[in-house]
Symmetry: C2
Subunit: 322 residues, 2 copies
């Protein structure tokens, strides 16, 4: 069985690919399936020293590029390709083309695949915004306050309707801020959540662009990959009208993040952290959920990080060069 990962060369795509190659099989809608190939669709090549991983370069916003990507042998599509939050805010047309148009292209292709593949869509808690409760829960209405969040929310609605019509068997997971990302900062308004952990642990000084008391709902990449794979396996009959599942992300302030880094990184040569709030970033971040807790995700068997210690330790174990 073939698996397709859009955004397959990205940070989460690479982690997911590594896990799937390592496992060799995956549960799709409750059935164990052997993985014969993983197609990694992205703007750039994804290089793997494994004959099962196949890189396809293309533009998710281009209907023609996405055509033939998904076929009757495709058991599962992980749709991760996206323009991140601050970039979608700065370039509205790009966000509409990739975040909305790309999701539409994937849905259309699943519909014509000749099978009804499981589609796992990586949405975000950025679908919530504005005047939010201290903790976002399953019943919290969607009120996006960014173009990124609006485009993800529209994609969720369409995924639910395409699924209800039987064109695809979709599941959306609303990911909290996934941190710690290895590598360089990206254009997400939340990239500092990774930077203020990653840079100090690598001995590099870093500036935090939000106030120390700013909270975020967080999830480790390890738990995010667990959630994507778990979403491929669940019985979607239990989901009801909405195929969206909010995932649980504990509340952590920027100050708690840096304190955790100092504590768990003690004994290493740590970079220095300076707080210099940027009004644009602060405004976007202030509109986002401060914590999320989903009883529905728990009932469906999704795991969550318990604390920021878990998240920093996952980075140290999985990504930090010794």
């Amino acid at each position: 069985m073939k698996i397709v990962i859009t955004g397959g060369a990205g940070f989460l795509g690479r982690k997911l690919t590594a896990r799937l190659l390592d496992r060799g099989s995956i549960d799709i809608a409750g059935q164990k399936r052997e993985i014969s190939s993983i197609v990694l669709f992205d703007r750039v090549a994804a290089d793997w020293n494994d004959s099962r991983a196949k890189s396809i370069i293309g533009d998710i916003g281009d209907h023609g590029d996405v055509a033939n990507l998904i076929d009757a042998d495709t058991g599962c599509v992980f749709h991760l390709a996206a323009v991140v939050s601050a970039q979608a805010e700065a370039d509205f047309d790009l966000g509409m083309r990739i975040n909305w148009g790309g999701t539409r292209n994937v849905l259309d292709q699943c519909r014509t695949a000749g099978s009804v593949p499981r589609l796992v869509f990586a949405s975000s808690i950025a679908v919530y915004g504005g005047d939010l409760p201290e903790t976002v829960i399953d019943e919290t209405p969607l009120t996006p306050t960014t173009s990124y969040g609006s485009q993800k929310a529209a994609g969720e609605l369409m995924l639910s309707d395409f699924s209800r019509k039987g064109f695809v068997d979709g599941v959306t997971v609303r990911l909290p801020t996934v941190t710690v990302r290895p590598g360089k900062p990206n254009k997400a308004a939340s990239t500092w959540v990774s930077s203020i952990v990653r840079e100090p642990l690598n001995g590099v000084d870093v500036t935090c662009p939000v106030r120390p008391e700013s909270p975020m709902a967080c999830m480790s990449p390890r738990t995010a990959v667990d959630a994507l794979i778990h979403a491929a396996g669940i019985d979607t009959g239990a989901l009801g009208a909405s195929r969206s599942v909010l995932l649980t992300g504990p509340r952590v302030t920027a100050r708690e993040m840096t304190d955790t880094v100092m504590r768990l990184g003690s004994g290493r040569p740590l970079g220095k952290i300076t707080f210099e709030p940027d009004p644009d970033i602060q405004r976007i971040v202030d509109g986002w959920p401060r914590a999320s807790r989903s009883a529905r995700a728990e009932r469906l068997g999704f795991a969550a990080d318990r604390s920021f210690d878990d998240i920093v330790n996952a980075y140290i174990e999985d990504d930090l060069k010794p």
Copy 2:
């Protein structure tokens, strides 16, 4: 100042046009503006014996047809064009093209108009669905269970985001079931709500396709037109992140509707009403709100029908041939 009405030849479009021609002016964002012309965009011609009303025939789902419709002189666009619920359910592609694609085209055109027009979008309480409270309120999350509802909900999200970005100054009104519609039944799953009033009052027998105890949230065309015009005038600064306003619709069962007709129509030669539930219609209707009540709409000054008596009397006064 020019006004554009998409779906201008439709039932609500005609009622809105008549009212606007009669008034001669309209408040747009709190400012009184003289109406120099009303452009009625629809698939079919809209004939008016008034030089201010101009009919343009086109396809709202065709980007080229919508181009140049909205210009710098356009103070307000009423976007009413839509494929109705049962039709969008039967022909998914048509619904996506018109309800989603058409709304996208209107948003795109407003953006390039050279002004920032007020856009009033007629959405529907079909954006709610599934396991609903007895009365839908402002805080009820959107959980559409039809393609029509999903497409309207996606349009609402985009209208809010286009407005936040300053591309348009939009307001969405979520209309309850608008009844009584004069003329012939249409392809809406709710068309019976009009038929079971209209046909008996015109001396015609009618079959009701839902069980007598089935409730609906209702609004008269008169109140719906009031709401559209009121939405053009309000201060959108008071709306917050979401530009959507739920409108209040009292709960009326099919049996209460027919009882009201019998009572208010006594003395007329009334047609006979027979109940013959159709499973497909019943299933769609069962998933819709049974009543809606919006404190936000009340705060913003939107009126509501108090009872089904109001609604039937509005039909008798406005539409029934003497």
